[in-house]
């Protein structure tokens, strides 16, 4: 109980910090005069007030966070911030239920990008910008941002960083201090966003659209200001720019930092995750190009290549932009893309899913077992580009895979129980847990999550949180041992 209160104290200061994020929509509301100023000011005040109240009430219980408190802080922090972030959506769009508002906020924060809104083109621009801001803040991680700005997390900072950062190997730091490491990551992230804005404007977008889509790209949120998503623009230039930035965002930001500091692209060549990501994407694009042309979906290879490449990259990186309704493609193509979305994003990127590093460990562990069947006496270290991976990590990856699949199975069964058809249920859960969209069927590229019942919406919300915090951080809270003294 005491540790819960001390965690709430930190969450209080987290909310105070988060209320600064409202400055972006407030500025936009003033500029665009779209009548949302009052709603955003009210939401900012609520966030600030709630944060200060939480902070003051629990000040007495303030203490250095213990390692296990990190999990509680991250899960509780994300849950609460999503609630606070949904306030302006609910105020401006009265037709939205609380369930839908919370889903929308969590979807943006976790960079899933699935939406329950339609008529995006006619929404007040500030509401759209707020959704993109949430993506952007959630992409690199709220807690990591807090670690970068506030020294409040102290020694426990590493634990919290581990609980929020995607990927199995989190012991390596760019700098000795967690605070500096977090700052560097955000600096690279911010810089990349700036470059993306410029590139999108050069490709023909206006400033507002460029800013919005840069937020949605670098965070791999995949939301758009248009119902037709990227298909609205009919522009190969924009699609090309987005492909490049989606791939960059799906790589480890620590790798970007090292490459920038050394001023060398060799760093990327040496990163096995980058190699595998690029190979998987390239091979899949080629395969689907021929498949789609062969099936007669597109008349020529060039058109097939254009649509296949964009949508494959978008799904593989867990971004979720769509340039055409790939739900209408023969089932093999979207299912293959869904598989890629589970495997491809790199450790320490803004993407979701199992992560390429874990995929590599799983494949090598499987072949190790097969090898040992043939040579029972053999010493078989598991190596990834020369470095031996300790068994401790292999076990952790196997446990992750089990819990990840179990979460998918359980949540899918719950969806089926609520009356959804199989394809829609399984794809909705998979895309939510991978923090991408769209799925197939009723949640396909041509539709939204609006048609889901209240229960189904909450199941998807839970899947997004579990996926964003990589299963362990959430599930550990449900073990009795966590709460035992």
């Amino acid at each position: 109980m005491r540790s819960l209160l001390s965690v709430l104290n930190v969450i209080g200061s987290l909310l105070v910090m988060f209320s600064a994020a409202y400055l972006i929509p407030i500025a936009s509301a003033v500029l665009n005069r779209d009548g949302t100023l009052a709603a955003f000011c009210a939401a900012a005040a609520t966030s600030l007030g709630l944060g200060i109240a939480l902070y003051v009430i629990t000040l007495r219980f303030r203490q250095e966070l213990k390692p296990r408190d990190g999990y509680l802080l991250v899960t509780l922090g994300w849950t609460l911030i999503a609630a606070v972030a949904s306030i302006p959506l609910l105020l401006v769009l009265p037709q939205l239920s609380i369930t839908a508002g919370y889903f929308e906020a969590m979807s943006d924060l976790s960079t899933t990008g699935a939406t329950v809104l339609t008529g995006l083109d006619h929404l007040p621009p500030t509401i759209n910008l707020w959704r993109a801001t949430l993506c952007w803040v959630g992409g690199m991680g709220i807690i990591i941002l807090a670690v970068a700005i506030l020294p409040l997390l102290g020694v426990g900072g590493m634990q919290i960083y581990k609980a929020e950062t995607p990927g199995p190997v989190k012991d390596s730091k760019l700098k000795p201090r967690i605070m500096q490491t977090a700052r560097l990551l955000w600096l690279v992230y911010g810089g990349l966003t700036g470059v993306c804005v410029v590139a999108l404007m050069a490709a023909g977008m206006g400033f507002f659209d460029a800013l919005f889509h840069a937020f949605a790209t670098v965070s791999l949120g995949g939301i758009s200001t248009h119902d037709a998503n990227i298909g609205y623009y009919h522009s190969t230039a924009i699609e090309f720019v987005l492909i490049v930035f989606m791939l960059i965002a799906a790589m480890n930001f620590a790798t970007h930092y090292l490459a920038l500091r050394r001023g060398s692209l060799r760093i990327y060549v040496r990163d096995p995750e980058v190699q595998w990501l690029l190979i998987a994407v390239a091979a899949s694009t080629v395969m689907l190009t021929f498949y789609l042309a062969n099936q007669g979906v597109y008349p020529d290879l060039e058109t097939a290549f254009r649509y296949a490449s964009f949508n494959v990259v978008s799904m593989a990186t867990d971004c979720g932009f769509v340039s055409t309704d790939f739900g209408l493609w023969p089932l093999f193509a979207p299912m293959w893309m869904l598989l890629l979305s589970c495997l491809c994003a790199n450790t320490g990127s803004t993407g979701g899913g199992i992560k390429m590093f874990r995929t590599m460990v799983l494949i090598k562990q499987a072949s190790r077992e097969l090898f040992v069947l043939i040579h029972p006496q053999a010493e078989t270290p598991l190596r990834i580009s020369g470095a031996t991976i300790p068994n401790r990590i292999v076990f952790s990856v196997l446990a992750f895979l089990f819990l990840y699949l179990l979460s998918i199975v359980v949540l899918t069964l719950a969806m089926l129980l609520s009356g959804m058809d199989f394809i829609s249920a399984v794809t909705a859960v998979v895309v939510c847990i991978n923090n991408t969209h769209p799925g197939l069927g009723v949640v396909g590229p041509g539709a939204t999550f609006q048609s889901l019942s209240m229960l189904q919406t909450w199941i998807c919300t839970a899947a997004m949180l579990i996926g964003r915090l990589e299963v362990f951080s959430v599930l550990v809270l449900f073990t009795p041992a966590f709460w035992r003294k």
Binding site: P67, P151, G154, V155, M158, Q159, P176, R177, M179, P390
Partner: protein, 455 residues
């Protein structure tokens, strides 16, 4: 400050803990044991690198190319020296500190001169601990005796006892009792809590008092706090390792020393090297042996073996059998805390003793000496004042005008050979050595800022 620590042993871990607690430091620890490093990184905000400490690739990965201080604390003297050499040759690291244990090296100072090995400062924890214990024996009744300004001034910590002239009286009466001696009480801990000493503060029975005094005045001031402890004559040392042996050699001229060593070969070896010490081959926890050797008339019993549990138990046994004052070498801070509350008189913590000599090199400002006190909670600092009245925050100012943080006391000023106890109207001059006591080491940055002058 960017700091690389090589070796995650007892001293390395303590150094990492203390240094990383200070916000301005970026600490990287190198060791060959990955499990040890992972555990360390989970608890401290540091970076860790696994590998052989003297290899260039490992030093490179630890960020040696822009490191300010390299502290080599691995268990091997040779690796430590090599690492300093590599760091200097490849990365021009400005400050390189190495732990050198073997007297074979340390007895040749020219090895560490500018044109020879690239070790700027060498420390030998064993030697530091030996000197520390030696001073404690020199001043019976003291819990801690620390040197400043080339031994001209000492900081003494002791427990005030009924019978001392000052006990039950205010601090200001100290001057009336001892008009000729200069001394200054810098801190009082009552039941573990710090009390800022003022002239009107009453010293109570059982208080832990820290005072500064010139070396020759210490005995007189100590007798104010507790009934005259008799000078030490008979010393019994348990453990003939590095520390025990060195201590015996230092004490044997003026004291009657008995040394108990368990290993027959080692006992034979040190008996050959020591002149007047009686070396006994046996177990320090053997009651019969202790009684036979008249432990009841021993003034001091010091448990200095490698095993802290054995030190604690043999010291407790010696106390029960009648030894006057017992000490034990204890590594674990938690044990030290447990023991000092009653069962034994002095817990000697090698890490706390060693860490001070490391801290002096990572402080900003011209800090020449740092002693860590009360398991790292408090600190005593000696700094040299530079600059003039225009660019310094202290030069030309009276002590009362200097804005010291809470719980900090400016205790003494050493000007050339002269030792001045600081009063509210003492004026600080340039090149003074100033000795400060900080009850809370978290304020250390404020003190550093006072003593740095803008270039």
């Amino acid at each position: 400050m960017k700091i690389v620590i090589l070796g995650a042993g007892q001293v390395g871990r303590t150094a990492a803990y203390h240094l990383s607690r200070e916000e301005a430091n970026e600490v990287t620890v190198v060791d060959t044991n990955e499990d040890l490093l992972r555990d360390l990184q989970d608890r401290l905000d540091i970076r860790t690198v696994a590998g052989n400490a003297s290899y260039p690739s490992v030093l490179e990965a630890a960020g040696a190319s822009d490191t300010d201080v390299l502290i080599a604390l691995t268990s091997s003297d040779e690796v430590n020296m090599m690492a300093c050499e590599v760091a200097y040759t490849l990365y021009r690291t400005p400050t390189k500190i190495a732990r050198i244990r073997s007297a074979e090296y340390t007895s040749h100072p020219s090895l560490f001169s500018d044109e020879a090995l690239s070790v700027d400062v060498w420390i030998s924890p064993e030697q530091l601990v030996t000197e520390y214990v030696e001073r404690l024996i020199q001043y019976p009744g003291a819990l801690q005796v620390l040197d400043f300004a080339g031994e001209r001034v000492r900081l003494v910590g002791l427990r005030a006892l009924e019978g001392g002239l000052l006990v039950g009286k205010t601090i200001s009466t100290l001057r009336e009792h001892l008009p000729k001696s200069e001394s200054r009480i810098v801190a009082i801990y009552r039941k573990g809590r710090n009390i800022h000493p003022e002239g009107s503060t009453v010293v109570e029975n059982g208080d832990e008092v820290f005072f500064l005094a010139a070396r020759d005045d210490i005995r007189r001031v100590m007798s104010e706090m507790r009934k005259g402890d008799a000078p030490v004559k008979r010393v019994v040392i348990a453990g003939g390792g590095n520390i025990g042996f060195r201590l015996a050699r230092a004490l044997e001229k003026h004291n009657q020393v008995k040394l108990i060593e368990r290993d027959p070969k080692r006992a034979r070896r040190i008996s050959e090297l020591l002149e007047n010490t009686i070396v006994l081959n046996g177990d320090a926890a053997d009651e019969d042996l202790l009684v036979e050797e008249n432990i009841d008339s021993a003034d001091v019993f010091a448990g200095l073996t490698n095993s802290e549990e054995a030190n604690i138990l043999s010291a407790m046994l010696a106390k029960r059998l009648g030894a006057n004052k017992v000490m034990a070498l204890i590594n674990k801070p938690s044990y030290a805390e447990l023991m000092e509350s009653g069962s034994i008189d002095v817990a000697i913590s090698p890490q706390t003793i060693t860490i001070g000599s490391l801290l002096a090199h990572v402080r900003r400002g011209d800090v020449v000496r740092v002693h860590s006190l009360r398991r790292g909670a408090a600190e005593a600092i000696e700094a040299i004042v530079h600059g003039d009245e225009r660019n310094s925050r202290v030069v030309g100012r009276r002590v009362e005008e200097i804005r010291l943080p809470d719980g900090a006391t400016l205790g003494a000023v050493v000007r050339g050979e002269q030792v001045i106890m600081a009063h509210h109207d003492t004026v600080i001059q340039t090149d003074d050595h100033v000795i400060l006591f900080l009850a809370d080491r978290r304020h250390v940055e404020q003190v550093e800022r006072l003593f740095t002058t803008p270039p």
